[in-house]
């Protein structure tokens, strides 16, 4: 097997991966960085983030406010030391991005402008119109081009980590153009592969968000933390699941049901006026808004369309000029994909799977329990997001923890013991290769992979949606166990080497099945309702038993083992989440 020698290998070249790569290059230009991604960097899904990134910069705001909004938004499942560090670093990282050329929207005097977002006491979201993620990604990518120590390996699909001697020493990845598997031998590896929304049928996520990194770490023995917490964004376009940013509501948009009634006032988010008002009504947190939709649907007060049940997002009162300035892409997307121009019409929306709060267990330095292995971004769980991520924290998280992962990995790489005998690593890599090549040898039998993915989607939607129960989750767990067995027999319909997207698709479904399994079991074991994890059979939060992070450990032949870890509470004891008139 070909071996590529590097100091630090980074899997994933989205926001977190690029930020990590730049951090390594800036902290030590002597360290060689291999930036490995299954897509070209600018295709990474950071590109689709719209609303903006949170960071305290204005005089009327404070780090304490950002801290509290984040912790209460996360239903007190956030590690408060991590949140404190995060809110402290946020303004610096966002300023750094400004220095690198990010075209942030501005106030008339030239200072960076901020907008309101859900669950925030004060407006603090930096934005670049409604393409913030796009601009952040392209700024990072373009900035990364000036560092000679960063070598990119675009369209390399990583399949497995190489863990030997108790530490991570590299990975195996396939060059998609040739189908060749190569080993990257590295002193440290950073996983920055993003989320896993594609395991659900209806998601804002791009097709590339398939849990690859989570599954890789999971199989290598790193626990997945808090996987039961899956965020539904309240406003996706029906049919496609295209995201309509929370910025729509931040700018003053409202949600109405089929009677034109602002139904959120019925769910402890009102009163509706005065509007707009922070932390109230449409500017409540995402979990509450998505749950409110579910209740409206139960009551039959949603609107039936050919795409299913929806509510309406009303932006008309903002006026054409403001919509064009602040939300131009939203206007374009709504007009194109559902035929509703928000300047003149109501836009149909419904909750849609958006973000994984859970992920690879890391500490505050982005380090996983396996020495030499780091993770950052959506694939990781530090955790600053707790049970429900505050809107506009994820783009900032990419920067803060991507940067930290880079710096800490660089330090580790400089101090790392010389690696063990290379032949042992190659042996590991060969095992990984066999996992892929075996797929080519399978007889034509078993389920087609496209059907397997459909079944996975259904199992997740039915069992692990906005509201869950013992019954629904058990059913999902059983189905997932069966699908894992099926996957063991799945065969390749395309046995070519060059750019075999069917093979990639097959491997991705394998990754998603593992992550989905962790989600369903973590959710089944958490017998309480907290943030985005709502159990019909356990309607209340139970701090006594579940003020804990769940940790799912991989089990190749059966169900994952679920363990728990205490939440770090430093200065905000668990309290009631208060929105609406009571704020």
């Amino acid at each position: 097997m070909d071996v590529i020698e590097t100091d630090i290998a980074i899997i994933g070249a989205g926001g977190a991966g690029l930020r990590a790569a730049i951090a390594v290059a800036e902290s030590d230009p002597q360290l060689k960085v291999a930036l490995i991604s299954k897509v070209y960097p600018m295709r990474s899904h950071t590109v689709a983030a719209e609303g903006g990134a949170a960071g305290v910069i204005k005089q009327n705001d404070s780090l304490g406010f950002h801290f509290h909004d984040t912790v209460s938004g996360g239903d007190w499942l956030c590690d408060q030391d991590a949140v404190e560090l995060f809110v402290n670093q946020a303004p610096l990282e966002l300023t750094q991005l400004e220095h690198w050329g990010c075209p942030w929207s501005r106030e008339p005097d030239g200072h960076v402008a901020v907008r309101s977002f859900g669950g925030m006491k004060i407006e603090r979201t930096w934005f670049a119109a409604d393409k913030s993620g796009f601009h952040i990604l392209h700024t990072l990518f373009q900035t990364s081009l000036q560092y000679p120590s960063i070598s990119r390996f675009d369209e390399y699909y990583s399949t497995d980590l190489v863990v030997e001697d108790g530490r991570c020493q590299g990975l195996v990845a396939m060059e998609m153009r040739t189908g060749l598997l190569r080993m990257f031998r590295a002193k440290a590896v950073i996983i920055a592969t993003g989320g896993a929304g594609w395991m659900f049928p209806f998601t804002t996520n791009g097709a590339i968000k398939t849990a690859d990194g989570m599954a890789m770490a999971y199989r290598a023995g790193v626990p997945l933390k808090d996987m039961e917490f899956v965020q539904y964004h309240p406003t996706g376009l029906p049919g496609t699941g295209i995201l309509l940013t929370e910025g729509c509501r931040g700018e003053g948009g409202i949600l109405v049901n089929k009677d034109g009634y602002r139904y959120l006032q019925d769910y402890e988010l009102g009163p509706p006026d005065p509007w707009p008002r922070k932390k109230a009504m449409e500017l409540g947190p995402r979990d509450r808004l998505s749950q409110a939709f579910w209740h409206e649907q139960q009551k039959g007060r949603t609107v039936s369309t050919r795409w299913g049940e929806v509510v309406h997002l009303d932006l008309r009162h903002l006026g054409e000029a403001k919509i064009n300035e602040r939300l131009p892409m939203i206007r374009d997307l709504a007009t194109s994909y559902v035929g509703a121009d928000p300047v003149h019409e109501l836009v149909p929306v419904r909750p849609v799977v958006h973000y994984m709060m859970g992920g690879i267990h890391t500490d505050i330095d982005a380090a996983t329990p396996v020495p030499g292995l780091y993770a950052a971004g959506e694939c990781a769980c530090v955790s600053i997001n707790g049970a429900n991520r505050l809107g506009s924290n994820s783009l900032t998280e990419l920067l803060v923890f991507g940067g930290r992962a880079g710096r800490h990995a660089a330090q580790y790489a400089r101090e790392a013991r010389p690696s063990v005998d290379g032949s042992l690593l190659l042996k590991r890599a060969e095992t990984a290769r066999k996992r892929v090549t075996d797929l080519f040898l399978r007889e034509d039998q078993g389920k087609r992979i496209a059907l397997l993915r459909k079944a996975l989607n259904d199992a997740m939607e039915d069992g692990a949606g906005i509201y869950r129960s013992e019954e629904s989750l058990k059913k999902s767990c059983d189905e997932l166990a069966e699908l894992r067995r099926c996957y063991g027999r799945v065969h390749l319909e395309d046995k070519s080497n060059v750019f075999n997207t069917h093979l990639i698709y097959t491997l991705e479904v394998g990754s998603m099945l593992e992550a989905a399994h962790a989600i369903a079991h973590s959710a089944l074991q958490r017998k309480e309702s907290r943030g985005s994890h709502q159990r019909l059979d356990f309607a209340n939060r139970d701090d006594e038993r579940y003020l804990k992070h769940s940790l799912a450990y991989y089990n190749a032949d059966g169900d994952p083992r679920i363990d728990y870890l205490d939440v770090t509470i430093t200065k905000s004891p668990p309290g009631k989440r208060v929105y609406g008139g009571d704020v």
Binding site: R177, T178, G179, L180, N497, V498
Partner: protein
């Protein structure tokens, strides 16, 4: 094995502009330069005739009046107009004018060019004694 073997499609060097209306229009615009160039040569010829004296100048003027010469001049005029119109149409791209946060609408910039063209023509016609 596994060596990438990309397939390269070479465009025809001689007929590529026939493959799309957009390219044909572009080549038509480029082609009009030939007429404009030809007319410049004609002007030079006229200048030489003028320098050679009254008689040759009159011969030159007479030759311009022949049906063939008239046809050619009409062709040059048509080509020049096409070139001018299509060129003015894209001037806003090459010379955007920003006022505060907004850009001056393209038709105003193109319009300014037409205005300058008319003014220049009037001046020339004035000195030529036509006006």
């Amino acid at each position: 094995m596994n060596q990438p073997r990309p397939y390269v499609r070479e465009p025809s060097r001689t007929t590529w502009y026939l493959t799309h209306r957009r390219y044909m229009q572009h080549m038509a615009q480029e082609l009009t330069s030939v007429f404009i160039g030809a007319y410049a040569l004609l002007m030079l010829w006229g200048l030489r005739a003028l320098a050679a004296g009254e008689e040759s100048w009159q011969t030159f003027l007479a030759s311009l009046g022949s049906p063939l010469a008239l046809l050619l001049q009409w062709l040059v005029l048509a080509a020049t107009l096409y070139h001018t119109v299509s060129w003015f149409a894209v001037t806003p791209k090459a010379m955007p004018v920003q006022l505060g946060e907004r850009f001056v609408p393209g038709f105003l910039i193109a319009g300014a060019h037409y205005l300058a063209w008319i003014v220049a023509s009037l001046i020339i016609l004035y000195f030529a004694g036509v006006l």
